[in-house]
């Protein structure tokens, strides 16, 4: 999708536009007030129903099946509706996900828990639009949140850069209220709600966490006596420097260093799309190297298609296959380049679901696996499997329009699971290419410490 440079500094505006032409398609004639009335009526009916059931021991005959579940879920659902309605004058979601048409009528309460047991600790309700966003959220952040949740900004570094740029605008438009200092007020009262909102759109990535930690530290280091304008300017410049040093330059260094590893006649296999792998391949191509690329991809995001299109557009020989063709194509590859979401401190790679399969196959066929990763993505966290820490994307993303799965929620005991990441064991990784040099996976904690110490 968007690479780390092509990030949406200016793009928020087009996304902000939709709320004005609020009612999308479902029932264009209803005004906000009418909807409110309709919802209230429905809610009242449901309450009456629940109350009736409580009184009479036996469930009401016609609506026997949905009623018991509703008893448990009902109040919660109502509450969230209430909250949503309270927040915005136009209580309409923006239709971001094509799979899920937005309906005016509130959804029936869920009949059963559709979350997968292994991942139940990871499920977080995802914000699907502007409705429900806190009124503190800055417009730039609102737009960013939407772009993140519909994957138009996707990828660890792109999200990091976009977040920092949005925060820069938050800081620019910030004025310290009287009786407060920037150092004490900005983080807790302005930045935190923004972070909260972004996290509610899509869980914060590890690199974003690192950057936010750094930004908070920077803010806390601002002298109380510094005039507000100067402090803001210093912070904004700090953010620029941070992006330049930790992402833009780091990317260049990594791309150069990885491109050096490519020789004429190589076939580089890569999985999904990583902006930094793309940089490295483009760099090698610009250096005049003749090599082929195999892009392995998977449902539901099909990110690799964008990479394949970009590379094929440059005239690189590209082969594209899905995970089902992995074991056939790995034999043709000479090197495997992988991008990272994060590097764990125990040397494991945390990356898009499917990366571990690619690394496993590469290892099995004795192909070297190189991970391209900026040190900003290093974390002190550890992971042994992909279940303890992961991100669960909405299961409806797996539904193919017109396919048999469309009504999956109505089928009892059927669950869809759509984890975003998996953890690749350290022994599958031969080398990590970072801006601080090429290191083995065992050196991740060392580099992480060095990076943090230099940061102060």
């Amino acid at each position: 999708m968007s690479s780390s440079e092509a990030t949406p500094v200016e793009s928020p505006k087009p996304v902000e536009a939709p709320p004005k032409q609020s009612q999308p398609d479902a029932a264009p004639k209803l005004s906000g007030a009418e909807i409110k009335k309709q919802k209230a009526a429905e809610k009242a009916a449901r309450r009456a129903q629940a109350a009736k059931e409580k009184q009479g021991g036996a469930p009401a005959p016609p609506l026997a099946s949905p009623a018991p579940a509703q008893k448990g879920d009902g109040p919660k659902a109502q509450k969230s509706q209430q909250k949503r309605r309270g927040s915005m004058s136009t209580p309409k979601d923006i239709p971001i996900r094509s799979q899920k048409g937005i309906v005016v009528i509130p959804e029936e309460p869920k009949k059963e828990d559709k979350t997968v047991e292994f991942f139940r600790h990871l499920y977080k309700p995802r914000m699907k639009g502007l409705a429900g966003a806190g009124k503190d959220a800055h417009p730039a952040v609102l737009a960013l949140g939407i772009q993140m949740s519909n994957y138009s900004i996707c990828g660890s570094s792109a999200r990091l850069v976009a977040t920092l740029q949005a925060f820069k605008r938050v800081i620019e438009s910030y004025t310290t209220p009287p009786g407060n200092t920037l150092t004490r007020h900005l983080t807790s009262h302005v930045l935190s709600p923004q972070i909260e909102y972004i996290a509610s759109c899509r869980p914060i990535s590890i690199s974003m966490g690192n950057a936010i930690r750094w930004l908070k530290l920077e803010i806390s280091k601002v002298d109380i006596d510094t005039p507000e304008a100067d402090a803001k300017k210093a912070l904004c410049e700090g953010i620029d420097v941070f992006i330049r040093e930790r992402v833009t330059f780091a990317d260049q260094v990594i791309a150069n260093s990885a491109a050096e590893k490519i020789r004429d006649g190589d076939v580089i296999l890569t999985y999904a799309k990583s902006s930094i792998v793309q940089h490295a391949l483009v760099k090698a191509h610009e250096d005049g190297k003749k090599f082929g690329v195999i892009v392995v991809d998977s449902r539901p995001l099909h990110e690799g298609k964008h990479l394949a299109a970009a590379l094929a557009g440059l005239g690189i020989e590209v082969k594209y296959c899905l995970t089902n063709g992995l074991s056939h194509n790995i034999q043709d590859a000479t090197k495997v380049f992988l991008g990272a979401h994060a590097m764990m401190s125990n040397g494991r790679l945390f990356s898009r679901a499917g990366t571990a399969l690619v690394a496993m196959e590469a290892n099995d066929n004795d192909k070297p696996v190189l991970v391209l990763c900026e040190t900003i993505k290093f974390t002190e966290r550890v992971a042994l499997d992909s279940i303890v820490h992961n991100e669960i994307a909405p299961p409806d993303e797996l539904v193919i329009t017109g396919g048999a799965l469309e009504a999956w929620r109505d089928i009892p005991h059927l669950q869809l699971c759509n984890p975003m990441y998996d953890v690749t064991p350290a022994e599958y990784i031969q080398m990590i290419v970072t801006e601080s040099g090429n290191v083995p996976p065992t050196s991740v904690p060392v580099l992480h410490r060095l990076g943090n110490e230099s940061q102060g």
Binding site: A309, A312, Y320, S386, I387, A404, L414
Partner: protein, 496 residues
């Protein structure tokens, strides 16, 4: 080619119906074109179609001797295999039928021999029988077709019972008049030691051993040496009777194979409860009737969780349909009632989790068993399965998770290719990059394998309708089901 089917997409059931109406040759052509167009695909429909067709071939073939019948079936089998070499079950079924015919013929002759060995006291009868067995291989062409025709119209009353194998009935049917004058067993007569130019061992050992030495010669090699005077009419009658009877046996043998194909999944499912226990997490891939029946059987007694990898982009629709219970007959390309009404696992109270193929490694650490369906099994213990099965098996190996393969014996192929790539079929790249992707269609090379080869070291257990076996044992089952001489019948250059 295939006749216009009124409003039906040609599939297995349409083919079955057409079998009755069409002439044999057009049926063969019809099946060939159905296989080529992949309108009959997947193992079971192919197997059933092949068996049904061979049944027709045997029934309509005016055959005079075993050799010609074998040659005819080999010829038909060869054409079918050439039509779709990667549907290995077609070859398997042809080989099964060939082997069965050889067995029947051998049994027949064996009876003659054991007969003759035990009926030393009646030289005339013995001689006649021995000549007969030779004759059946190379009959005098002048009269036998005629006799056969007559035998078709008026079936001989000697032996109408299909189940009893013996034409002359002396070894089993002790009540028959011929065997009433059975002499003492141990008398040996030197003058009969060489009959038909073949030394006949006459010892106690020979009596006890199951296969007398003349039978170790492959059929067709026995040449009738002694054509002594005999009652020609009587002989012709017997030839007709025996071949008629053999025909019935062969047909019932093929019917048995068809029955086996119908029941195989239920037989496999009978082992389910031995292998699946409460609260297990089972990972399976793609959709398969065998696996689904297996899991449903286990679900009768136990509650467990099934994770289904969807096998995108070739089988995901079938997988989704199987998971949601909307099978509508599209799964195996036929609408056999049992498959049509197969209920989804989730309705049996099992939690079913559908995941993408990419998420397999992430979830594998929580999986207790992997159960794979197969397209074909190779004699070395490896298997051909839906693409993606190999990385699943490998991920399971990495996590030390046992991999169980559920497969009917009919999928077990005696072929052993030295280059496994030749078994892999490549599918439509349009299902990966469609024309809606615009320029990509022209700029990208797209790879869409339909099958994967899973090497035997990644499989822990095979469950077939005969029980559970280690992959290393499969060669024995192959040896039990196919005759050595049939293995390479379709490419004669490999016959040694």
């Amino acid at each position: 080619m295939s006749p216009p089917q009124s409003g039906h997409a040609p599939n297995l059931s349409v083919f079955k119906k057409s079998l009755r109406a069409q002439s044999l040759e057009s049926s063969i052509e019809n099946l060939i074109s159905l296989l080529k167009r992949r309108q009959i695909k997947n193992s079971r429909p192919c197997a059933i179609a092949t068996a049904e067709l061979l049944l027709r071939v045997v029934a309509r073939f005016r055959w005079t001797d075993i050799g010609k019948l074998l040659a005819r079936i080999q010829e038909v089998g060869q054409r079918l295999i050439q039509a779709q070499p990667r549907e290995m079950v077609v070859g398997n079924i042809v080989r099964r039928v060939l082997g069965m015919i050889r067995d029947e013929a051998k049994e027949d002759r064996h009876e003659d021999m054991s007969d003759s060995a035990s009926n030393m006291g009646s030289p005339h009868r013995r001689l006649e029988r021995a000549t007969l067995s030779g004759l059946r291989d190379q009959p005098p062409p002048t009269f036998s077709p005629l006799r056969l025709d007559s035998s078709k119209t008026t079936p001989p009353t000697i032996n109408t019972d299909k189940d009893s194998d013996d034409v002359f009935g002396s070894s089993v049917g002790g009540s028959r008049p011929q065997s009433s004058h059975r002499p003492p067993m141990l008398t040996s007569h030197p003058s009969y030691a060489h009959l038909n130019g073949i030394p006949v061992q006459q010892s106690m050992f020979n009596l006890l051993s199951a296969t007398p030495s003349p039978l170790s010669t492959p059929p067709g090699a026995v040449s009738p040496a002694g054509k002594t005077t005999f009652d020609a009419a009587n002989l012709a009658y017997r030839v007709a009777a025996s071949s008629k009877d053999l025909k019935a046996e062969v047909i019932s043998g093929i019917e048995e194979i068809i029955d086996e194909l119908d029941q195989v999944d239920d037989q496999i499912a009978a082992y389910a409860q031995e292998h699946i226990h409460s609260n297990e997490v089972i990972l399976t891939h793609s959709s398969s009737v065998s696996v689904q029946k297996f899991l449903l059987k286990a679900a009768e007694k136990r509650k467990f969780t099934v994770i289904v990898a969807e096998s995108y982009p070739n089988d995901h629709e079938a997988t989704h349909a199987a998971v949601t219970g909307k099978l509508n007959g599209g799964l195996d390309g036929d609408d056999m009632s049992t498959e049509k009404f197969l209920k989804p696992l989730s309705s049996a109270g099992i939690t079913v989790i559908l995941m993408t193929d990419a998420a397999i490694f992430a979830i594998m650490s929580r999986v207790n068993k992997v159960i794979l369906a197969t397209h074909a099994v190779i004699a070395n213990g490896g298997l051909i399965a839906a693409a993606g099965a190999r990385i699943i098996a490998k991920a399971a190996k990495v996590h030390r998770t046992p991999v169980i393969v559920v497969s009917g014996v009919y999928k077990l192929s005696p072929e052993y290719p030295f280059e496994f790539e030749s078994l892999i079929e490549y599918g439509d790249p349009g299902s990966i990059i469609g024309y809606h992707d615009g320029a990509l269609v022209e700029n990208l090379e797209v790879d869409n394998p339909v099958y994967d080869y899973v090497p035997p070291e990644l499989v822990d257990l095979y469950i077939t309708n005969l029980g559970a076996h280690a992959p290393s044992y499969l060669y024995r089952i192959v040896a039990d089901h196919y005759k050595q001489e049939d293995i390479n019948f379709h490419n004669p250059e490999l016959l040694f």
